[in-house]
């Protein structure tokens, strides 16, 4: 005599299961199928979203003109300001960056020679001020001092000022647009300083 096919849920949790006492195959299939689709959904959404949060724009090398070479006097240091091309289009005045340019005596081949230093102190990044009277850069934050060639003179900075990569093109002084320099990510990573 066959038993009527009743709804398993109505029998309660302790009631024996119909169909020979095993859970129907489709219930187990449904569980694993849901797990699979759920995992796929999680990865499909999660991976790109996470990628967005941790991705960084490709490093660009751009050159920016600081001005005509004749605008810099030999043996003098002065600030040169420019709009950093590494900016976003909506950066505004924040991208107006300054670097210190010192024109040195011409090299053996007579070509103009420069020393371009980032304004950021090598200690913790505050802007250094140039004092031509004593030939020193001084940092307002913790009293770091550098000589005219950028070398560390005294105070907490662990190294000298960061050097910018420069070149001359058609009587113009150009530098590689500087990213924010830190101890492990200087402006001259391919070279020494």
């Amino acid at each position: 005599m066959t038993e009527p096919h009743t709804d398993p849920a109505a029998l309660g949790p302790q009631a024996p299961l119909p169909c020979g006492g095993e859970a129907p195959a489709r219930r187990s299939f449904f569980f694993w199928f849901t797990a699979l689709i759920g995992t796929v959904a999680g990865l499909l959404a999660g991976v790109p979203v996470l990628g967005y949060f941790v991705s960084m724009r490709k490093k660009r090398i751009e050159w920016v003109t600081l001005g005509p070479i004749d605008g810099f006097t030999v043996g003098e240091t002065r600030m040169a300001a420019f709009d950093n091309p590494l900016q976003q289009p909506w950066d505004g005045v924040v991208a107006h960056t300054g670097v210190y340019v010192r024109r040195e005596a011409a090299g053996e081949d007579g070509a103009a020679k420069f020393l371009v230093l980032a304004i950021n102190c090598a200690h913790l990044g505050c802007p250094v001020s140039w004092f031509p009277q004593s030939g020193l850069f001084m940092c307002p934050c913790h009293g770091g001092v550098y000589y005219a060639d950028g070398e560390r003179a005294s105070g907490p900075p662990p190294r000298g000022l960061f050097h910018c990569v420069w070149r001359t093109r058609e009587d113009q002084l150009e530098i590689e647009a500087p990213h924010y320099p830190t101890l492990q990510d200087t402006l001259t990573d391919k070279q020494e300083s």
């Binding site: 990044g125 004092f131 662990p158 990213h179 830190t182």
Partner: protein
């Protein structure tokens, strides 16, 4: 009039069931001791929450006008200050309520610590509270960036340089912090998202958990010397006390909370109205001279600690020390969750609080006065004291001119006026011989310490004149 209102309320309540949830919360019993004078110690947590509510409302108000774009933030702040009706007041209130919230959160934490209220069974409440403290300080730090003036810009620079010291991953952390290769619009947007979405989300979730735990575990009774916390018996004892002598929270206890919160709001509004909004100090132009970035007041102690530390210890103090502090805070209820609660029986706890606040106070004072910063305008702005040039010979006078002109004054005061990076030189003639003076000026601090070597910066004639002038600075003249 009342009957229709009552009917409307009943219609709503039968479906939402809120009174069935909220009324028991408000009536939940608290120890009788809170009704007495000891109950005034319990008001700091709710006052912090009141100021949080004020911050959310004023923050929303500011967000209606403020533009978080690098090229417009400054202009929108000027608009808020000068054009938007009461915009200046909202900006001021947002800043001072935020400062007040930090003060109250610290007061709340100190009170809970001193009364041992973090002990069993409220250890988790304390731990969530530490998260809330971190969120509050995080809001303060990210809020400063949104002011987008030179202080904010250079503050980001310093933060970036600190992040750059993380071993190996430094450059990556810097990029994540700044949102790009330079400080710019991406940085501002990032910090805006942190200040408006991320940290408030974490803060409110943690606050919900914190309040839930307070309700679940109840408010602790005022500590009594001799009554020790024993996890085996505390629960039974506490519930018995509540059953026999507990009073509903919605009574004297809640009244104390409301009164203190109201007083705090009045004080904060008064300060905001009288002092006005903070900054912006100018457009965030990195080429503007005279930038002297300072962290906000809750972080001045850390600024001083770093500035006064030997350079070799800096990376450790920047990166590891804060983690150690947070770890110590988190671990408090795990190492001392039982025993005496009354401060009169816990000398170590009281001593710890006194010491910590004394150290924080001293460091904050140092951070505010920052004697290690050279005064960049002293060489041209602070004249040599007249008494020091009266009756001097021509070469000594020339020496005084050289002394000023070589920017020495930026670090060295004369008669207390000038920089304090180096020692005051008013009596240096009695402290160093001519030979020692020449040596010190030419070579700087031995080993490359705090004074640079001026040997190449000063001509022999200038050096002689300057040494003559300095040698004349003595007590008898």
């Amino acid at each position: 009039m009342i009957r229709p209102l009552r009917a409307m309320f009943d219609w709503f309540d039968r479906r939402a069931g809120l009174s069935a949830v909220l009324l028991p919360m408000m009536r939940h019993p608290v120890p009788r001791g809170i009704v007495g004078p000891m109950g005034w110690w319990y008001v700091f947590g709710s006052a912090s929450m009141t100021l949080l509510g004020l911050q959310i409302v004023t923050g929303i108000g500011l967000a209606l006008v403020y533009v978080p774009a690098a090229d417009q933030a400054y202009e929108s702040l000027l608009w808020l200050d000068y054009q938007q009706p009461l915009g200046w007041f909202l900006r001021a209130l947002h800043y001072y309520a935020g400062s007040g919230m930090v003060v109250l959160v610290l007061a709340h934490m100190t009170q809970v610590f001193l009364h041992g209220a973090y002990k069993y069974p409220r250890e988790l409440t304390w731990i969530v509270g530490v998260v809330l403290l971190g969120c509050t300080l995080g809001m303060f730090f990210t809020g400063q960036v949104l002011r987008w003036d030179p202080d904010a810009y250079w503050g980001l620079a310093v933060g970036g340089s600190m992040a750059g010291r993380v071993p190996e991953a430094g450059p990556t952390v810097v990029r994540l912090l700044l949102g790009g290769p330079i400080i710019g619009g991406d940085s501002l947007s990032r910090f805006f998202a942190l200040h408006v979405f991320v940290i408030p989300g974490v803060l409110l979730a943690a606050l919900g958990l914190h309040l839930w735990l307070v309700l679940q575990r109840g408010v602790s009774a005022p500590p009594v010397p001799g009554e020790v916390v024993d996890p085996a018996t505390y629960d039974a004892t506490y519930h018995r006390e509540l059953e026999t002598s507990g009073v509903p929270f919605a009574g004297e206890a809640m009244l104390k909370d409301i009164l203190f919160s109201a007083l705090v709001v009045i004080v904060v509004v008064a300060i905001a109205a009288i002092v006005g909004p903070k900054g912006p100090t100018g457009p965030p132009d990195p080429t503007l001279g005279g930038a002297n970035p300072r962290p906000e007041w809750p972080f001045l102690w850390l600024f001083a600690l770093l500035s006064l530390s030997p350079p070799g210890a800096e990376t450790f103090i920047i990166l590891v020390f804060p983690l150690i502090l947070i770890g110590l805070l988190l671990v408090v209820p795990l190492v001392s969750n039982r025993g005496e609660r009354a401060p009169s029986r816990r000398p170590v706890a009281v001593l710890a609080v006194v010491t910590i606040y004394a150290v924080l106070g001293a460091l904050t004072y140092e951070g505010a006065t920052s004697p290690w910063s050279p005064v960049m305008t002293a060489w041209s702005g602070d004249a040599v004291p007249i008494a020091m040039v009266k009756g001097r010979s021509p070469v000594e006078l020339m020496g005084a001119v050289v002394f000023q002109n070589k920017n020495c004054r930026n670090c060295h005061a004369l008669d207390g006026v000038g920089g304090r990076r180096g020692p005051d030189l008013s009596l240096i003639g009695a402290q160093l011989t001519r030979g020692q003076l020449i040596d010190q000026i030419s070579n700087g601090t031995p080993g490359g310490g705090n004074m640079p070597a001026y040997g190449k910066q000063v001509s022999p004639a200038e050096m002689s004149a300057m040494v003559e002038f300095l040698s004349a600075l003595r007590p008898d003249e």
